[in-house]
Symmetry: C3
Subunit: 246 residues, 3 copies
């Protein structure tokens, strides 16, 4: 019976890790990312006055993780923009988020139950990106532990790590803070996730990649859905950290 | 008769697209670029007190477009500096612009009729850079529309797109503005040109590359010469834009 | 007798240029670099409140030269982090410098006679880095004079050239100054060293690479030890510069 349940979990995880992300999950990723861009003070005025800058910011929000990972690994920083369909999809979401008549699109997707679904789907993409990033880095650097962790981390954190420069594009400059100084929950979780996936990739964690993706996705989805539902800016790690460094 | 005139236009365009840029046109590019650097407040004092920083700024003004395009396409950012003769030519122009006895060089090249000739020749280089940039990007990414447009755009706009960081090198920091927020005419025209050359490269614009280079150069030369002659900071696109977004 | 002494100098230089840098010399490099990080105002508080940011700054101080050189030459910017043992060694030094009980480690290494030994050994690493950097750049660009000089320079200057962005990571932003505007002695000496090694590499300086490494190391060691021992922030070049540009 136990064997059977283990088998079915393994099979479920495997099927889950093979679900294609494009277009549905990617779409959710773009929607939630651009929702957060719209929450930024001044973002709506920017889209009216300087649509080019607003669109470029939107692209950084949607594809920041690829840009940073490409920069780290010495690949063309605009490499991912060769996926014209992804860029067009993200551009369409940007247009609808900022310019939809009556703000209908924004009202629909920011309605909490709908938003929670998208938030959950965004986390699926995030975890998959971390896993793929570490696999890619491992391909180049077989024993580059730090490189694997760094690549996974930037793939998971995305635009947050270059928030200072994304703000600069919008004419805002806040040098006194940055994501490394004040890590948000997604960045911190991405870092821990990157460590786990690196351990798995180098065979120190006796678990299949699919299972780890499945379990870590479950963790991320439940945390983020809970945090979003309760409008909380805290982090489940706070308890643990308070215990370690009182 | 029509056929003949078309033939001769095609031939003229072809000959025009084969005129070598080095050294005469490149020289004009350097002269006009460094004139604009000298107009910047504080640039002359900088050249006296910190010649190394001034020279580095001058290099960014002359070769910024190559640096940015190399960064985007994942090539060594100082790749173009292997053309020692170009770098030496640009350094000579920098030296003459800032340190010529009696400021003779500056007085000569900023004399309006002379300056207009150089401005016209600079636009020839700009358009050729856009065309070459898009051809190069197309070689790497056959269907990378966005990559082609981006590469052409940075090749045309050059240092303007990294003005914030060029200023930082001189100890000036103006985060509240940047070229994306307030596009100047050359940046905007480069963007439109990049779109046109991308359409041409992907066979959507039924026109030979040489003809497009010729026509777009004529457009850029006439606009820039007119704007420079009238000391105008406006843009021929203003009328169009006012009509589209009132 | 002269021949014999020349021979023995050549042999000494050759043996010297073959001394492995890892781990002893590298260790000294990390110790001195992180001492300077600890001298920065706010660095100790940062290590307490934001250890992740402090560690990242420490890595920039230890490996900044590799990051910059990789960026210039279009290689993955985190390439050097594949040397896990170097990164672990640097991390251990960072931990001891900031978190050692009773600050014992800091007190030991900042005791002047001990510090002078480490400072001397750091210069050995710096000169070797310049030589290796230029050799590497020459491999890619046989006639790229400017590229060779630039690579050698960033390999010698390291984190100083990106001090603005290293400070930004710590939440400090000082746009009014940078290393190019106000070059410190090590940066200036690295630049002159890069020119010398480039001349040697391109056979314009009739001297073996080992001899130049030996002589330039002697120069750097004596200058830096003298400057550190006298707590001076001046530069031996000041006299020369005052003479050239009065």
């Amino acid at each position: 019976m136990d064997l059977l349940s283990a088998l079915s979990l393994g099979e479920l995880a495997l099927s889950f890790s093979r679900v294609p992300l494009f277009p549905v999950f990617d779409l959710s990723y773009f929607i939630v990312s651009l929702l957060y861009l719209k929450y930024e003070p001044g973002a709506v005025e920017l889209s009216r006055r300087h649509p080019a800058a607003s669109w470029l910011c939107a692209m950084l929000h949607c594809f920041g993780s690829y840009i940073l990972a490409d920069l780290l690994l010495g690949e063309p920083v605009i490499d991912y923009f060769s996926n014209s369909s992804s860029v067009l999809l993200a551009s369409a979401v940007w247009y609808l988020t900022f310019f939809c008549p009556l703000d209908l699109f924004y009202k629909c997707v920011s309605f909490l139950p709908v938003k929670l679904v998208f938030v959950a789907m965004k986390e699926v993409v995030r975890v998959r990106k971390i896993a793929v990033g570490i696999h890619h880095a491992h391909h180049h650097y077989h024993h580059g532990w730090f490189i694997m962790i760094a690549t996974g981390w930037v793939k998971g954190s995305g635009v947050a790590l270059m928030a200072n420069f994304e703000q600069l594009l919008r004419g805002v400059w806040k040098p006194e803070t940055n994501e490394i100084l004040h890590m948000s929950f997604p960045s911190k979780a991405s870092l821990y996730g990157a460590v786990l996936f690196t351990l798995q990739q180098t065979r120190w964690l006796p678990m299949s990649r699919a299972t780890l993706i499945f379990l870590f996705t479950m963790f991320m989805v439940s945390c983020k859905v809970f945090l979003t539902a309760t409008h909380s800016h805290g982090s489940p790690f706070d308890v643990l950290e308070g215990y370690v460094c009182p």
